[in-house]
Symmetry: C2
Subunit: 348 residues, 2 copies
């Protein structure tokens, strides 16, 4: 093949595309050929320079990926060259208090591949074999790039404990909100998605989701009508704004659960009295574990998560900058960077 | 006996003591002779006029009580005159969405005896038999007046899911905080109580509780030292101030639970990012159910809750105003109003 390429974050709004630094996989490592890499909000934050304190340029970013095994390092068994895989991009230290209590995915010294160490937006990527998650041969690799964000949604829905028949309100119809809505529906929830942006509502509607425009009527009142004044069993806060938190709190029934998914970089004013009065629960949810990934693979493979419809654009690696620009324009749900190398046959 | 007396809230800071309005118990009702009535923060709020929108003067208040059955109405069985009882002061409608889901204690149309309808601070009180909770004959009635606030603490500790070995931080050493600390200890928790007021710390220390002065050192740091940097498993917010919420959030370990007990009449700025990052849970807790009351009777009767030490003052019904004034001076943990009538022998 030609020299493998890598996309690197160089500075705010600047990416470079140049030769990757392929490393022979060491013990317990595997070298992959990433095929498709999705871009998420965190990647956009990095691109905007907002995470320069954490991401040291030049840095290969990207962590929503699919690809194939190229070669394995000493001691790695069970992954033949060409095997389709995705990566759960977490390395925990195993010794911190969170790890010792079994919550390794939120290790207090977590190494997140694609943020804290090199990521997937390159044509060769060496990762610990322990991060690999097998994909079915039948699953097209572009769709498989949605396994990682789906795993996050599976985790969120699990943390919220969505049960059959639950009335669920998702506040925010970005890619994360839409995936949560789809996964919550698959768990038996009756879901409404609140989103002020008409374009995003249309995209969600096309996926079969029912949406509400908060500008068209008071959302808690609407939830009251919908639920015979009971309120919703579950709300997901996925928009990141204080108003979204307020909506999520205001729609909940007695003993309702608010699952907090969005990143709120500032403290938010929260109606704690309602938490007391209605005995509400607020549940923080972050990342995923291996079981969430396995479930996500199944949901994407069986089509419960309509990955094909969610992918609105695929951009070649040589134009990764354009992919970021498309995404920040706000018209797309999911943009993928195509890292496949047509000249390569060894991992076809 | 002499004409039974009642203490009535007349206006802000004004109580009157006058004849009660004894009512022959109707079907399903029981007439009680209250013996001791505790005063809580809610009673103080009413006394200060802060709840005039809800409490229509003149109103008999009070809901932490012990007493004896005087006579029972038609259809009431199993309560002989003289039987020692306390009252779970809740009447639910049984038809609202909260009730239909089994959460009757937070009925959306709850009638709270002593706030929404006449309370216990009188020498005759007619209540639904369904509110009665039996007391052991051996339990002195003054101590039994602490069953109601203990039931609330039992409910809070249950909502927080305190387990054996949990490290627990209670923010606020008022009567509620102290009871939560005692009940959490009884559940196996290793408890620290954070309280800036030296007098309250001393009172808590006398009960065998370990207290921390937040002015003497950073509380989250201290919790870090105590827990090998893990953080606390559970925090109870019992102080009602924004700073208390912040402390409770900042001390928690990954997957820690914050049980919100205090009334926050204003929205509070909350570090939601930490809820996300550490996958924390915030749990609202309000009132109690019958099981909590049964547990509370046992804890008070067996002395796990040191009721005798918690009662710092007992004031005769004729001087109920003085009882409120003592309490608002802040030197007492629990002040009881003595409603017993020495001249009465029928329920001795």
């Amino acid at each position: 093949m030609r020299t493998p390429l890598a996309v690197r974050y160089a500075a705010a709004r600047a990416l470079t595309t140049g030769p990757a630094d392929p490393a022979a996989p060491g013990p317990g490592q595997v070298e992959l050929a990433p095929a498709y890499v999705g871009i998420c909000d965190t990647d956009l934050h990095i691109f905007h320079g907002d995470m320069d304190a954490r991401v040291k340029a030049p840095a290969v970013i990207g962590h929503e990926m699919s690809g194939r095994v190229v070669r394995v390092g000493p001691g790695v068994e069970g992954f033949a060259p060409g095997a389709p895989v995705t990566v759960m991009p977490l390395r925990w230290d195993g010794t911190c208090p969170a790890c010792l209590r079994g919550h390794r995915h939120v290790c207090q010294n977590l190494d997140f591949l694609g943020i804290d160490s090199p990521g997937a937006m390159q044509q060769r990527w060496t990762v610990p074999a322990a991060t690999l998650v097998r994909l079915p041969q039948s699953l097209p690799l572009d769709r498989a790039a949605l396994v990682e964000p789906t795993a996050a949604a599976v985790h969120d829905v699990g943390r919220a404990g969505v049960r059959d028949g639950d009335r669920v309100v998702v506040v925010g119809a970005g890619p994360v909100g839409v995936l949560i809505a789809v996964v919550a529906q698959a768990a038996g929830g009756d879901v409404r998605v609140v989103e002020p942006n008409a374009h995003r509502r249309r995209l969600a509607n096309r996926l079969g989701l029912r949406t509400w425009d908060p500008g068209a009527g008071d959302v808690p009142e609407r939830v009251g009508d919908w639920t015979d004044d009971a309120g919703a069993d579950v709300a997901f806060e996925v928009c990141g704004a204080e108003a979204g938190v307020q909506t999520a709190v205001d729609v909940l029934a007695v003993r309702g659960r608010l699952c907090l998914v969005a990143v709120h970089s500032q403290p938010r004013r929260v109606n704690l009295h309602r938490f007391f009065w209605r005995e509400l629960t607020l549940i923080g949810a972050r990342l995923y574990d291996r079981e969430d990934f396995e479930t996500a693979v199944r949901l994407v493979a069986e089509g419960t998560v309509p990955a094909e419809q969610l992918i609105s654009r695929v951009v070649p690696i040589a134009d990764a900058l354009g992919a970021f620009q498309f995404l920040e324009a706000g018209h797309d749900l999911k943009v993928l960077v195509d890292c496949t190398d047509p000249s390569s046959e060894d991992v076809a």
